[in-house]
Amino acid sequence: MIMHNAELERISASLAQAGSAEEVFGTLVGSRDEQLEAAKRLFRQMAKAVHPDLFQERSDFDQAGAAFKKLVYFWEQAQTRIEHGTYGTAISTEEFVPFSMRTKKSHYAVERLLARGDISALYIAASLLDGAPIKCLLKIPVRPEDNDLLSNEARILTHLHVSQDYPGLHHFVSQLVDSFAYQEQASGILRQINILSYLDGFYSLKEVRQVYPQGVDPRHMAWIWRRLLVALGFAHSNNVIHGAVLPTHVLIHPRLHGVILIDWSYAVLAPSASGESISAISRDYRDWYPAEVFVREVPLPGLDIAMAARCMIDLLGGDYYTRAMPDSVPWQIQSHLKGCTLPNPRQRPQDARVLLADFDALIQRLWGGRTFQEFSMP
């Protein structure tokens, strides 16, 4: 009994000091399942020591209750972070104080920080849409100077939203829930915030490549490429060029074979009439951009196609820059992707829908009829 007591003291003290799950469960290594398993073991050990049932009718019953509650809180936090791959990253160790925002349209209760993108910090928030509770994603620019990029994303997504083919194709692009300027009372800083539908169970192509360092099977690349072309065909037929089709901006759902093109901050609308050109790029991916971007040529649909094809080359375990692909990739697919990434923008395919038909014909010859390929992420 005395031993239990000391154990309770020790665990409650450490829980009281902890600001995050990482401080409770420490460094976790291995795949998500392995991390989850290790954290679960620790959780069980501690739960056994502090469970209030053990302390019934004792003076430290309340202490045990409080410690157990805290432990469960951090255990849940650890699970979500492990699932989202953010456990142990710098951002998740910062203490997070929930906050909320009210706009003319709705109220957003921000629950936690999910990730930090190129421009923005991404938070998960709870809200109501037409009376029903929804989970959404708050995109807040870290630097107020990037407000224009967020405004641009809202402009582009609104444009796509009112298009005729939106109802049938909306799930291929980010869905804008709300967009507003938020002013911090004390500092006078203004931030343009976009609220997007939250996407559960998706992974970026960057994450996929990390899990499959040798590249994925070409049959998996095929379903991703086909859907990415649908997304691009949708944007292009509505006069939008995405302008930043990069591994961080293509999300896939392994089980459902979903593909979503996100981050429309860099996109241009009707460039041949408006004279808009790509005015900002993602610094980490500077050499993924075709040369015409840097001389600010009027962007053509082939820009997106070339960047998307580079993502596929990378996904196959190839080199996005030299366009070299592993020998295991059928030569027909290699040439198809190389044809999309020709340096001269005018030599590249410009119509994603035609390209999709070409690709379908190609894989039909190569593999026969299409079959569903089970894909998994650990």
């Binding site: 620019p141 408006s274 808009e276």
Partner: protein
């Protein structure tokens, strides 16, 4: 720049000294006109200027950049003279009404870079009497080429590439640019003109729309069109600007109400006031009934179409306060 503080005393003192010295309010322009030597005042010369800066300071911790550039060519008739006189009121109208915190104002004027001696004159962002001096030192050449085009695009280029403003860089708040004139812009920012008047080597011409988009990234851009100018009723020109700027194209029925119109536009955009409150403010300040009517009618369309949805609240979490050393986006 923008360090000194505006006070009516300082302005009156400067005016008294000018009177004592027997110089007119617009001595520089008059002298240039009389002598026929068109030399831009050194304080207004844009050549070789890296940035005109609007910066926060101890006395102006929340600076907001406001620039006003007007067409000084012949087609504008007497209007540039009215502007030169009336824009001096802008600062106190803004301060008295409390529409915007710590305004810093830059004045400038432009002509026709294809034929005028002086294509562009731009002062500094100032909070004090210096801006009034800048305004008075603007030469009103009164040229222009008779083509219904002036070099608006050169003025836009300067604001896009040669200004650096804390309101945007530190607080994500756009500055203001008011262009006023009665003609159309040329379709391109010309490489040779930029080289000649500003000293920038430019690889190629820049399309007008592109430079407007660049300006709009950091500025609320408005075009104020004085109806009493020569082309005041030319619909082709109205449509030209309306097509480019939509609701931000404003008519000015009475050029003497230019400062009131600008102040009201800022007040509306900052959501400090609605149109009725703005009109009341002007009336309280002693503006004439005509000036009020002119200013509010100019803004009727803008006020009804504008929709800036803004939520206000407490500071956002820490992750947003520490910007990464190197931005992850690169501007081209």
């Amino acid at each position: 720049m923008g360090s000194s503080s505006w006070s009516t005393d300082a302005y009156e003192e400067a005016a008294r000294m000018r009177r004592a010295a027997g110089t007119s309010s617009f001595a520089y322009s008059s002298a240039a006109r009389a002598s026929g030597t068109w030399t831009i005042h050194p304080a207004l010369n844009p050549y070789g200027v890296k940035f005109r800066e609007s910066r926060d300071s101890e006395t102006h911790p929340r600076s907001n950049a406001i620039s006003v550039l007007f067409d000084e060519t012949g087609s504008m008739g007497h209007i540039p003279h009215v502007f030169q006189e009336k824009l001096g009121d802008l600062m106190h109208v803004l301060l008295n009404r409390g529409y915007i915190q710590d305004p810093q104002i830059l004045f400038g004027a432009f002509g026709d870079a294809t034929c005028d001696h002086i294509a562009l004159q731009v002062g500094q962002f100032e909070s004090g009497v210096e801006m009034d001096e800048n305004l008075r030192n603007i030469i009103l050449e009164g040229g222009g080429g008779g083509t219904a085009h002036e070099s608006y695009e050169l003025a836009l280029y300067f604001i896009a590439r040669h200004t650096s403003i804390d309101c945007w860089e530190k607080r994500g708040r756009k500055g203001y640019l008011f262009l006023t004139g009665d003609e159309m812009a040329y379709p391109f920012v010309q490489q040779q003109q930029v080289e000649k008047h500003l000293g920038d080597p430019l690889r190629e011409n820049i399309p007008l729309r592109q430079i407007i988009t660049e300006v709009q990234r950091r500025y609320h851009l408005f075009f104020i069109f004085p109806r009493n100018a020569s082309h005041g009723h030319d619909e082709r020109i109205h449509n030209f600007w309306r097509d480019l700027l939509g609701q931000n194209f404003l008519f000015l029925d009475d050029e003497r109400a230019v400062s009131e119109t600008i102040a009201l536009t800022i007040g509306l955009t900052e959501e400090a006031i609605n149109l009725a409150e703005g009109a009341q403010d002007l009336s309280d300040a002693g503006a004439s009934r005509d000036a009020i009517a002119a200013a509010t009618s100019a803004l009727q369309t803008y006020a009804s179409a504008r929709s800036v949805v803004t939520a206000t609240g407490s500071a956002l979490p820490g992750v947003l306060q520490e910007a990464p050393d190197k931005p992850k986006t690169e501007r081209l």
